[in-house]
């Protein structure tokens, strides 16, 4: 029997890093006895190291809690932990659509911060009921009244009856549970006998079960043994295992309207499942899928090469494994004159890129060189052909190209008034066109038309930095437009370094070229000879710096007892050099490739 819909509450927790989301989740789980005390590990829901370190959630996690409320009923509470970054905005919006309410957790001394805002707006957009929760009220610096006021001002929701808690000590947790039941709505009443419509919230690979699919049943009922169909991808599977997370897997016979759970069905690759897809039964299935599905399309591309060419095969294995678990990540083999064999990879955004790169380096122990991130340009050739350009290195000679189009985005930025000037300047510097500027409760909302290539690399970092983290940012692709785009090459010691080639707007080329050359001058260690570093467009040098020759590198003291040590040091230095790539006579450290692209101002 599936749970009666009026006894279900589905919710997510919206919070800034360190404001206590995971601790609160753990408390809720603990207080309801979902996990035995001895199995309690700190922060149950954060699975990956990278997530924990960066304080972000990349994959949606979920837990089902039974809660005997004061009204005498036992409720089923489903908590979904959602991703928290603009790169995963679509994934967040799907997770939010799978629940009816949110707990907005704010640190009672720190107040509302930008990351919270982006997600709380997504929650409001998804028509969530929102319960404000002020955490860490036991700390001396806590100012719950001021922060409650700020929530009302900034976000525009009533915070007068916010729950005051300390997730760490457990103060106020029972109130939160009651608020979930009394203040958040039950899922809308739907027919359990209607044709099945379940939304795919997330999926991941499990070595024993194959792909595990997290779903929210909207209408109808899914049962173990059903033959189901993914309405967007057309894949057909048998439901081998159906269950819920508590947080470990627990089998159930069926899931009805309003319920959240998982199924497995011998699905081999995560690629076969798409977030936002609709699952229905093969027979007597639904006719129309749920609205809002978007196939995830990589928008940022870059080359990944092993620092040590011998690692290529290991890297191929690692990339294939990662790709099985991530439908939004694409790859194909690439060769570069300077870097040898590697892969051209596509990502949802820069954070996604960094996460994948970190995982390759950390989990698979491969040192990587990352080339300049790029977007897909449309090349219109003089002979009428249209080509997609994924890699600036492949840019044909300009004499064959009629014109180039680049992808544009519509960016929405919300920011406190005091930082607006800096934000507008940033958008302007990045070739933005202002579409709208309005005020919402003391915050400005700027809408800009921006070229994606100006955003992919470090726009979000810059935005955070000029607004001290108080801006929220969201974007969507808006199509292609022609502009004066050229390929800029970087020459180090007169040798072109492919990995640093990039497409730039002609008017910004000098500025970017200069910035790149200056950066590289700091990033490349001095050599025994001086090294010219140049930026060039089609053979014409537009910027130049010279890295002067090393002047002093000698050990002051070297006596009888030092011979052994010096010899060992020499071996270590030689090994360290292997972490650098040789371009002609110049050794360029791995980190230079990505650091050179970051613009400080």
């Amino acid at each position: 029997m599936s749970t009666p819909q009026h006894l279900i509450r589905n919710f997510s927790i919206v919070a800034h890093i360190d404001h206590g989301k995971s601790t609160l989740a753990d408390r809720l789980i603990q207080l309801t006895g979902t996990v035995a005390e001895r199995d309690m590990k700190a922060q149950l829901l954060d699975a990956m190291d990278i997530e924990r370190e960066r304080g972000i959630t990349i994959k949606a996690n979920t837990v089902r809690i039974d809660y005997p409320a004061k009204d005498g009923n036992t409720y089923v509470l489903n908590l979904i932990d959602t991703p928290g970054h603009v790169d995963f905005a679509y994934e967040v919006s799907r997770s939010m659509r799978a629940v009816e309410g949110s707990l907005l957790v704010v640190d009672a001394s720190q107040g509302v911060e930008a990351q919270t805002l982006a997600n709380v707006y997504t929650a409001i957009e998804a028509d969530h009921e929102i319960v404000p929760v002020l955490n860490k009220v036991d700390l001396p610096a806590a100012e719950p009244e001021r922060v409650a006021e700020q929530i009302e001002d900034v976000i525009g929701i009533d915070a007068s009856n916010a729950c005051l808690i300390s997730a760490k000590t457990g103060i106020g947790i029972p109130d939160v549970l009651e608020a979930i039941v009394t203040r958040l709505p039950a899922p809308p009443e739907k027919d359990a006998n209607a044709p099945l419509k379940a939304m795919l919230i997330d999926s991941w690979y499990d070595p024993y079960l194959g792909v595990v699919v997290l779903i929210r049943v909207m209408e109808g009922t899914i049962r173990k043994g059903d033959n189901i169909r993914m309405m967007r991808t057309g894949g057909k599977y048998g439901v081998d295992k159906l269950g819920v997370f508590r947080p470990q897997m627990q089998d159930v016979a069926e899931l009805g309207p309003g319920e959240i759970g998982f199924f497995t069905g011998s699905i081999k690759q995560v690629r076969d499942t798409r977030v936002g897809d609709t699952i229905t039964t093969e027979k007597k299935g639904a006719e129309t899928p749920l609205p809002g599905f978007k196939p995830s399309i990589p928008v940022v591309f870059c080359g990944l090469f092993p620092v040590d060419a011998n690692d290529f095969e290991d890297m191929r294995d690692a990339i294939e494994k990662l790709a099985l678990n991530d439908a939004s990540f694409t790859y194909e083999m690439e060769t570069s004159a300077a870097l040898g064999f590697g892969f051209r990879c596509g990502f949802l955004g820069l954070l996604h890129l960094e996460v994948i790169r970190d995982r390759l380096e950390r989990e698979y122990d491969i040192d990587l060189i990352t080339t300049a991130p790029s977007v897909i340009y449309h090349l219109y050739m003089k002979d009428g052909e249209r080509r997609d350009l994924h890699n600036p290195a492949d840019m044909p000679d300009l004499t064959y190209v009629d014109h180039v189009e680049e992808p544009r985005i519509k960016a929405t930025i919300m920011v406190p008034d005091e930082y607006l000037g800096d934000v507008l300047k940033l958008c302007q510097d990045r070739r933005g066109i202002q579409l709208d500027l309005t005020y919402v409760g003391g915050r400005a909302m700027a809408v800009y038309d921006l070229p994606l290539n100006e955003v992919v690399f470090d726009f979000y970092d810059r935005l955070k930095s000029v607004t001290k983290g108080y801006a929220s940012f969201d974007y969507q692709l808006e199509g292609y437009r022609e502009d004066n785009l050229v390929k800029m090459q970087i020459l180090v010691n007169d040798e072109p370094v492919d990995a640093l080639s990039m497409m730039v707007h002609r008017d910004r080329a000098e500025m970017r070229g200069r910035a790149m050359c200056e950066k590289l001058k700091d990033l490349i260690p001095r050599h025994m000879f001086k090294i010219p570093i140049q930026a060039a467009i089609g053979g014409k040098v537009i910027a130049r710096e010279t890295l002067s020759a090393m002047r002093k590198d000698v050990t002051a003291k070297c006596y009888g007892g030092d011979a052994t040590r010096k010899k060992k040091l020499l071996e270590k230095q030689k090994a360290g050099k292997k972490k650098m790539r040789q371009f002609g006579k110049v050794e360029i450290p791995q980190e230079a490739f990505i650091s050179a692209l970051k613009m400080d101002n």
């Binding site: 002093k552 590198d553 050990t555 011979a563 230095q573």
Partner: protein, 386 residues
């Protein structure tokens, strides 16, 4: 066919390590230990026993030098020094012009022992003056002041034939003009030998920890360090004390003979905690390392062997060591001797390239680093080693 390795060109020396200090200097990464007092009798006997043990392994040599280093060897009682020198004399033949050096702190307490050292056979001292500026002596953690150091230097000159002293430069907050002035004063003082070291921050020192925390401020940039080095070469050469090694200056004939043994890659015996040795027996070169901790070394030496290890140095490693040591000297390395050890070290093509760059030059079979080359010697050597 390889010929027997010609260690004789480098001579044969004895290094004696005295590991104790009254205080640990914040820049020092040597094997030194601060203790309240040491019963020197067993130490003297253990050092003497070690020397006799080595004499059995390397018999019949002519000893060209002895060097007492540390630690602070000027904390040794003259009797201890005499016992050690006596053991060496009983073990090997002393060269007529044997050089016996002792490193000393330039303080009045130590200066009072100079006569005793001279009677024991010491004929050269090397004084750790380090700076002629009071503030900097404090920052370097030294226990003496400038006046005291100058007085000790005066006494040393009366007592010993040869006196050298050390200075550390490229210190925190020091600029080119400061150093020019201080070096000028030093050159007025210097008689036959001067060691001028740029401050380097080594792991395992207090300075290193401070630097890691970002609290060691005002160290010169690479360019300022280079300018200071160039200025040093110029001023010293002008005063008749040219550099014969990266950091060592002397008129011709006044070089430290003991240190030349290392740089010319001769044979040397090392005794005392943490001491290293290199010596040849039947055309095989050995590397010895003694136990580092005084509390481990002493009982080991008393039981008959203070060494932690003795290993054969492969030919290619010998070539690398010869290169590391020899290129520090302005006279350079003997290319034939080097290539006799290994053909893969310092290949002709790399020598040619570095010569074109003005970092190396060859004259009468000696491969030498130019001034520019010596300033970037670590990188030059890295290029030359396969």
């Amino acid at each position: 066919m390889t010929q027997p390795e010609n260690w004789q060109t480098g001579g044969f020396g004895l290094y004696v390590h005295w590991p104790f200090c009254e205080a640990k200097c914040p820049y020092c990464d040597f094997n030194s230990h601060v203790v309240a007092s040491v019963d020197q009798r067993p130490w003297a006997e253990a050092l003497a026993a070690e020397i006799r043990r080595y004499a059995e392994a390397v018999p019949g040599r002519v000893l060209t030098s002895i060097f007492f280093g540390g630690g602070t060897p000027s904390l040794m009682a003259p009797e201890t020094v005499a016992t050690v020198i006596g053991a060496a004399r009983g073990s090997w033949t002393f060269a007529n012009d044997i050089e016996i050096t002792l490193e000393a702190n330039p303080r009045s307490v130590e200066a009072a022992r100079f006569e005793g050292y001279a009677r024991a056979g010491v004929n050269r001292v090397s004084l750790g003056v380090q700076s002629l500026r009071e503030d900097d002596l404090r920052k370097l953690g030294r226990l003496h002041d400038v006046k005291e150091a100058q007085a000790a230097f005066g006494i040393a000159r009366e007592v010993f034939d040869r006196v050298s002293f050390d200075l550390i430069y490229a210190r925190q907050g020091q600029n080119l003009r400061d150093w020019e002035e201080e070096l000028g004063e030093a050159l007025e003082m210097a008689v036959d030998h001067l060691s001028l070291y740029q401050l380097t921050v080594e792991p395992g020192t207090a300075f290193w920890d401070r630097a890691q925390k970002g609290r060691l401020k005002g160290l010169p940039t690479e360019d300022l360090g280079a300018d200071m080095y160039e200025l040093t070469q110029e001023l010293c050469a002008g005063a008749g004390m040219p550099a014969y090694e990266v950091s060592n200056h002397a008129p011709a004939g006044s070089e430290s003979r003991h240190n030349l043994v290392y740089w010319r890659y001769g044979d040397w015996i090392g005794v005392g905690p943490g001491a290293h040795g290199r010596f040849s027996v039947h055309n095989t070169r050995y590397e010895t390392i003694a136990h580092r901790m005084p509390g481990v070394w002493l009982p080991a030496a008393q039981a008959g062997n203070g060494d932690l290890s003795r290993d054969v140095v492969p030919m290619e490693d010998q070539a690398i060591e010869y290169l590391i040591m020899g290129l520090r000297l302005s006279e350079g390395v003997d290319l034939e001797r080097l290539h006799n050890m290994s053909r893969s070290v310092a290949p002709d093509a790399v020598i040619e390239e570095l010569t074109r760059m003005g970092l190396l030059r060859i004259s009468s079979h000696q491969l030498k680093a130019t001034l520019e080359g010596r300033m970037v010697l670590n990188s030059v050597i890295e290029k030359l080693v396969p």
